[in-house]
Symmetry: D2
Subunit: 344 residues, 4 copies
């Protein structure tokens, strides 16, 4: 069986394990106050052009999401996000558990628009019962989205502009940042991201690391005492250098970008194979996640050799399923799948 079910089913890129081996007998200060975290931050900053940014290394995405939101908002403030946003649908109410309402907006292909956000903010601004409603204060986006789609530079600029107009924080969940930036359709760089939003993270868990997310806080207002929030929220790893070391390994020579771009290219081959077969995409994705609508008989045939994710039932004879490539996908795995799609 070949796995295309998600992008976190293998350990780590071999270079990361190698780095762990080489440093295993070294001693370091705890809690992220070590050389590797500093070096990793320095490597990441080379891509940002935001020297004042604060960089922290946390363990997983849910943790980053609620910790950032808990740190950024006052109790009566709320979060705007897509109704398909990860914090809204797959984090067991972690954001609400910190006390904050999520205002989930209808999304198209996993995305919301600057206009929708402006409408929410304007509704609050002009409300005559402001104290009876929550104040939208932070916009949460995923890049790429949970459906693998991408915000264009133009879309992000428009959203960023609305956020500045209404004094909203813009927070980008980059759990799959590598796959977003590596897409043939991406028209933004990490530098652009760092300039368009107030806080974002670069996912490691799904992009070659054993675990770990690199959080970048560009807005100085959100920087003070962030380590206190990390500790309070269980997001400060005792052996913090394990995170720094991994990100240093990924960023030192561009490995992060290489392995995720490769995964996107594999995904494009799979996408093309489905297209050529006349199997429609559920939506157009140019990143490592491909959602297609197959006949149930096709699904069963594919399931003989591949593990993929069932997304939802379309009708009695069709299903939407997801194929996901990753940094660990092998060319022969893709070739096999492409061949089997052709043979459906």
């Amino acid at each position: 069986m070949i796995r295309f079910n998600n992008d976190y089913h293998n350990g780590a890129h071999p270079k990361i394990l190698e780095a762990l081996m080489q440093t295993n007998t070294e001693s370091y200060g705890g809690y992220g106050l070590d050389d590797w975290c500093e070096k990793a931050a320095a490597e990441i900053k080379k891509h940002l052009d935001r020297p004042e940014a604060a960089i922290h290394f946390l363990i997983g995405g849910t943790q980053v999401n609620y910790t950032v939101i808990a740190a950024a908002l006052r109790p009566y403030q709320s979060v705007i996000c897509a109704d398909s946003g990860h914090i809204q649908v797959h984090e067991t109410g972690a954001v609400e558990n910190t006390g904050h309402k999520i205002q989930a907006l209808p999304s198209v292909d996993g995305k919301i628009t600057a206009g929708q956000i402006a409408a929410q903010a304007e509704a609050y601004r002009t409300s005559c019962v402001q104290e009876h409603i929550t104040q939208p204060k932070l916009v949460y986006l995923s890049f790429p989205t949970e459906y693998g789609t991408l915000y264009s530079r133009q879309e992000l600029e428009a959203i960023s502009q609305v956020c500045r107009t209404y004094d909203l924080y813009l927070f980008i969940d980059g759990a799959r940042m590598g796959y977003g930036l590596g897409s043939p359709r991406a028209d933004v760089t990490l530098r652009d991201i760092a300039h368009l939003c107030d806080v974002f993270y670069i996912g490691g868990t799904k992009c070659g690391a054993l675990f770990g997310e690199a959080l970048v806080i560009t807005n100085p207002v959100l920087q003070p005492d962030f380590r206190s929030y990390m500790k309070q929220n269980g997001a400060m790893l005792a052996k913090g250098w394990l995170l720094g070391l991994q990100f240093y390994t990924l960023f030192r020579d561009g490995l992060y970008f290489d392995i995720t771009r490769q995964a996107d290219q594999y995904a494009m081959q799979i996408k093309q194979a489905f297209q050529e077969k006349g199997i429609p995409a559920f939506l157009e994705s140019f990143t490592n996640q491909q959602f297609v609508v197959v006949e149930n008989s096709q699904m069963e045939k594919l399931a003989q050799h591949y593990i993929f994710e069932f997304d939802h039932k379309v009708d009695d004879t069709h299903s939407c399923i997801r194929f996901c490539t990753s940094w660990s996908t092998q060319p022969q795995e893709v070739a096999a799948l492409v061949a089997d799609i052709k043979a459906l």
Copy 2:
């Protein structure tokens, strides 16, 4: 100017002030442990046929809503309600502030259906990623709704049945309970309510009291240590007998039912006046709140003599406005309004 803008713009029914005067020099134990609270609970229970019910007196509706929900739910559990529900739209995220997600469902005329609730509960029950999503555990309804509409006995029975099937608590917000029960279209009694749900409250603030809500907890699971939740949530009045005394006054001889039924009848006169004038209702309400769609010129004319609530803009020349009768509405006020509607 005559006020029809809401049902909480006057003090209290004269009998309540009289009772306060007569008892003012009496001394009582604090925090709701007094004779008046006991006597009020006994009077209310005469209507319930639920001798095991626990009755508590709290100060206001928002407070009751979040205190009940905080007491009923575990951290990973969520609330199902209509997207027009008061807790969703007008309580500044008070429920989320206690840590719980609200799953707001699309509503029609302020109501949701047993089918919608069952679908949510079933989605959780059959989810293969249960630990990644919140568990719906409590259904919040308003009777009457925020739009003045009513759930029928059949609808409530169906919802109650779904709740029992899926082990959900049914919580009914009765901030305007009197106006619901007093409606010519109501086909349930307080006794029915008490048997169909697990916890509900009988609003005093909008129904003749200076302030206060009588909370009835029929489900024994929700009863233990509820006073601890009240104290923790600022909902335990030091001079608790002020609440008991008011509810005793309202329930001793049916005053509560009389004054709210009268308000409903006044509302029906206003409703009829609009109908006869050909001014359409925004939706069909048979309680004390009447939403109508008027021409802006008509709105301006009415605004010369009446205070009412602007609900929303319908189009460039029409607005939806709300007229609200209450326990304090006077017949001559209604007569004047009816005449002025005719004269539009």
Copy 3:
């Protein structure tokens, strides 16, 4: 039986009920946006010399305490208070329920010192593991304390100075403010209080009102959007004018100060009677609460005619009990008690 057990066992000063009667048929805007609240705030401000202060009317003390603290602090910040402070011992963990740690310091006669506070703040400032501990950010004092004792002007100035040095908010719980200011030993005025702290409240519930506390926020940093916190925390009364009207009545002509000063004088008579009898005070209080250590046989004798509060067992034959005067205490009640103390 004559009640000296607390200062909230009677309704309200007759002038307050009179005001309620006279305005009962008047209509007002809801949620504290009305003339009476404005007028009450204006009357209170005459005593403050802080024209920029924001004044809000809330319902009860616990509610004020946790709402202020929730509004003032970020999640990793904590509260410093006396180990006998009301928030620490009698509010069912309401402050912790909003997410904040209380650092309770050993107190003497219900009081803590500037030195103790400075030590806590300095410990944080100089900690090399700041992110592992909470940041003390708000000091909570009661004036008078839960034991009826008073901070002197010198003590308050020293505490205020420490708070400014370490950038801590100073919050004074004035649930019994009137009894504090009316004490023969008080050397501060309301104006002093308003200049020494960032936020405080003037208790109504225990000082002549049916219910209600007037919150004064002098520090502009704590003022924005405070009404949102009130609504979210169930502390915004629908018929807010009921609060404004009561405080206007209490402050219009000094009634608040008169009735509480009178209660203090009654307490001094009781204090003197115990002293003359050789019955020791548990601690020296010059406000309306008197804690004395009596023989159990004396306690039983007094219990035949008076209701008082049992505080704690001192030894097998002695108990500490509390006698509390209030705005509603009558001279003949005091005379009777004084005579019975003499006759012990």
Copy 4:
């Protein structure tokens, strides 16, 4: 420089890295639903004699502590612990951040007694104002304590008995469990622990793993839906098998016990060296943490070759410092230290 400053300054036991290498290209299900977690749980259970126990693998100690407490308690319930307990002093108020009060009791050598716990529980049980105070419901102990001391079997049995009498949960923080069980003075086994408490964990981070804590829930009341709490609290690792694999490696053949017992033996050598030199222990510890009171000149001399932890200033010429051995301590490091102590 040789590090004795803590027990988490090195990576992992070589066998763990080896296991990671060997399985790196294998694919696994996410979120702890994998073979390694199952196998690790099975190995751990061999030591417990509690077949019904639920075992989960979390990432770090703070996270485990607040997640367990948030899952176990209702909002008005509180935690009893030593005033030196980790949750009280070094977790940035994480427990309060979940809404729960900590009742910290005075401790001796980091320990509290059954009698102290009973007194707290009895005070609540007999309180006549129960609803104004929090209900103690969970006792948190550390084994070994933050000072390296141990509860004896007799002490634990007495505490366990009190907890059962008063219906309190007993939760044991075993971040250094290995060093506790491996002590020459320990008179309990993992099996005893599993029978005396309701929930406890076996620390990996400080005992040979890269990271990870194995949580054992023996009380069935605390088991349902615990994975939901994990996800909500950011404590569910995407690549959960990394945790299972590490604990399997540690428990498969007793490695966990061997390496921590060895560390204790090294600590005993250091302890003896100090004793023979006449340098007093700050308190008697028979586990891997040794607190001694040295002259400042001695401290400076030791600091030339060793990194240790400064605990506190004793007087102008003496300091309390901590030497900590660990699974990674080498015999030659201990020998060097022992020699240098002798030469002081």
